[in-house]
């Protein structure tokens, strides 16, 4: 046997392109955004995106990497956030050591609290994998949310607990009063969160979590306890969720038992999934899209949750690799020079999807106005689409049928 080994590791240039460059771009993006002079509402939206990005990445440590489907991940963000809200109030009171702790450090406190919550709750719940684990996570989420409404001094009842982010001393010249300051705070911790969760995927434990997802049995026969792997990953995921909680505590200055409930847990599952759980960047995309939809789509239509649900179901059925998968496949096709042969298929598919969307939107918008009974009429682009108008029904049916046919044709051609 020869002793000269082929160098398997990626070259320096590849490493730079794949590992360093994305983070430089992220940092640059975070720095450039405020120069564009975003409005207050845009800043708030961006801050929420940052929080959701870290939360979604922590969730994907479980779902995408370790194959653990949790229905209660908001528990860890919530408990981390609650702890931070309390700490912020202690800081405002200024007693003892708390007088010197900057509010800026809240996500670090959330990180610790989330890890602790993960360690305590994960101890029993990580004894099972697969469906039992999912069921336990659901039960725990219900339990903790219920406890949130019962223990007023800890969780503040329905009103929750508020805090003041200006209570502490300045840090890095940031008083955290103005929204601009909060943006820098969120930007910093978003970067740390992305870097931290990515670094985790590069550690032996991170790789083992993927191995445990693929084949827990074989993991046992190479000397590792899959239960232990899952438990440690669960703690790490809880920690990063708690970090997101700390970010949220500073941004929104309030936590309520709602934050612990199944609703945010479900939302983060959807965000991570539609973004693409197989890709590291997937949950980031999902978090951005979902936060944007949640805050802006609701201004346009009362049916936005319905569209969200339809999108989720559609993605699960037809695009299991999410937005990141679409982007990746597109890039691979372009890189391999297959653009010339696939662009027609893509065009058909896109037109088909747009047509389906047109008809679904028409149906939904007309239907709930009709059901409201206030006589309101859906009037897009100057059209008067009442439920008596035959054009309405033509718009609901014809594009749908044509769209489905186009998408099916595209699918057939893609297979051929």
């Amino acid at each position: 046997m020869t002793s000269s080994y082929v160098d398997l590791a990626p070259s320096r240039a590849e490493k730079f392109r794949q590992r360093v460059l994305p983070f430089i771009l992220l940092a640059a993006l975070l720095v450039v955004i405020p120069l564009l002079g975003p409005s207050r509402s845009t800043l708030t939206l961006l801050n929420h995106m940052g929080i959701t990005i870290v939360f979604a990445l922590s969730y994907n440590m479980l779902l995408g990497r370790a194959g653990m489907l949790s229905f209660g991940h908001a528990v860890y963000m919530g408990l981390g956030g609650y702890f931070c809200v309390h700490v912020m109030n202690w800081i405002a009171a200024g007693t003892g050591v708390w007088g010197v702790v900057p509010i800026f450090a809240m996500p670090a406190f959330g990180f610790g609290a989330g890890a602790l919550a993960g360690a305590v709750i994960g101890w029993p719940s990580c004894r099972r994998a697969g469906t039992p684990f999912a069921m336990i996570s659901l039960g725990v989420a219900e339990l903790v949310a219920a406890a949130g409404f019962m223990f007023d001094s800890l969780f503040g009842g329905e009103m929750g607990i508020s805090a003041d982010r200006m209570g502490g001393r300045e840090f890095l010249g940031l008083s955290l009063g103005p929204l601009d300051d909060v943006y820098w705070f969120i930007a910093f911790w978003t970067f740390i969160g992305v870097l931290g969760t990515w670094a985790f995927t590069r550690t032996p434990l991170g790789k083992l979590s993927e191995a445990t997802r693929d084949n827990p049995e074989r993991v046992e026969f190479v000397g590792f306890d899959p239960q232990r792997v899952r438990y440690l990953v669960f703690i790490a995921a809880g920690a990063f969720a708690g970090m997101a909680g700390g970010m949220s505590a500073v941004q929104d200055e309030i936590f309520t038992p709602e934050n612990l409930s199944l609703i945010p847990s479900g939302a983060i599952l959807i965000a991570a999934y539609v973004g693409g759980v197989r890709y590291f960047a997937g949950p980031i995309l999902g978090a951005i899209v979902m936060t944007y939809m949640g805050s802006n789509l609701s201004d346009y239509t009362a049916g936005w949750l319905l569209y969200l649900g339809l999108m989720f179901v559609g993605m699960v059925m037809f695009v299991p690799n999410g937005f990141a998968g679409i982007i990746h496949d597109t890039w691979v096709a372009i890189r391999d020079g297959r653009l010339a042969e696939v662009w027609k298929i893509w065009l058909k598919r896109s037109v088909g999807l747009i047509l389906i969307a047109v008809s679904v939107i028409t149906m939904v918008e007309v239907a709930f106005r009709w059901s409201d009974g206030y006589g309101e009429v859906f009037e897009p682009f100057g059209l008067h689409l009442s439920h008596q108008n035959p054009i309405t029904w033509a718009l609901a049916v014809i594009p749908f049928v044509v769209g489905i046919l186009l998408v099916r044709k595209a699918a057939k051609e893609a297979k051929a």
Binding site: P204, E210, E220, F221, F224
Partner: protein
Amino acid sequence: MSSALKLTDLKKSFGPAKIIQGVSLDIAEGERHAIIGPNGAGKSTLFNLISGRFRPTSGSVHLKGELISNRKPYQINRMGLSRSFQVSNIFTNMSVRENVRCGLLHSMGYGYNFWRNIGGLSGVSEKTAQILEDVGLIDKANMPAALLPYADQRTLEIAITIAGGAEVILLDEPTAGMSHSETDRAVALIEQASRGKTLVIVEHDMGVVFNLADRISVLVYGEIIATGTPEEIRGDPRVREAYLGEEALPEVEGVPA
């Protein structure tokens, strides 16, 4: 020579079905031991008992003098016993390189480490490359394991098994489904990988068995009916009757049901 693996009156029942009915076997250090027997004789169950996948109903397994039959698979693996599977049992969504790396992480002392960059562990990278080169998968190192051709998946199965440097290696039908040339390569690989180690192998290919093994045990209906050198086994009338002459003698007599 001291004993590497010792089975004492090992029994396993699934409900009323007695699969292993009292197997005693002593395998010396450095020995290459083959276990043969007709389908359904309990060969894989025996491996599952030794490697900790199943708990025995009664009896015991000792690895280098230490009782292992009450331990979990990962504990047994850490004590120096590694096994492969009859059906390829690899990490399908990871690359070939990552598969092998998972197999050797623990032996290199990186337990559940979450503060080191795995790419920066040069010892691990070198060892991974060496194993990949030894088994001939170096050119496919960065391929997803799921896309490997069948024979390469079987090779990877062996590579994961030997990666940790275990002293006792259990291979469950390593050449199943391979062509002649693939089998020859696999045998060469097994010979090389088991040098200085204890090898227990379940195999259907008699060519491989008689070529490779120092001793052979014949398992029929959960009992070992004979153990001996290849010559002894070949000459043993009970074995001929129960196993080797299976095609000629479809009705096996003298075997408890």
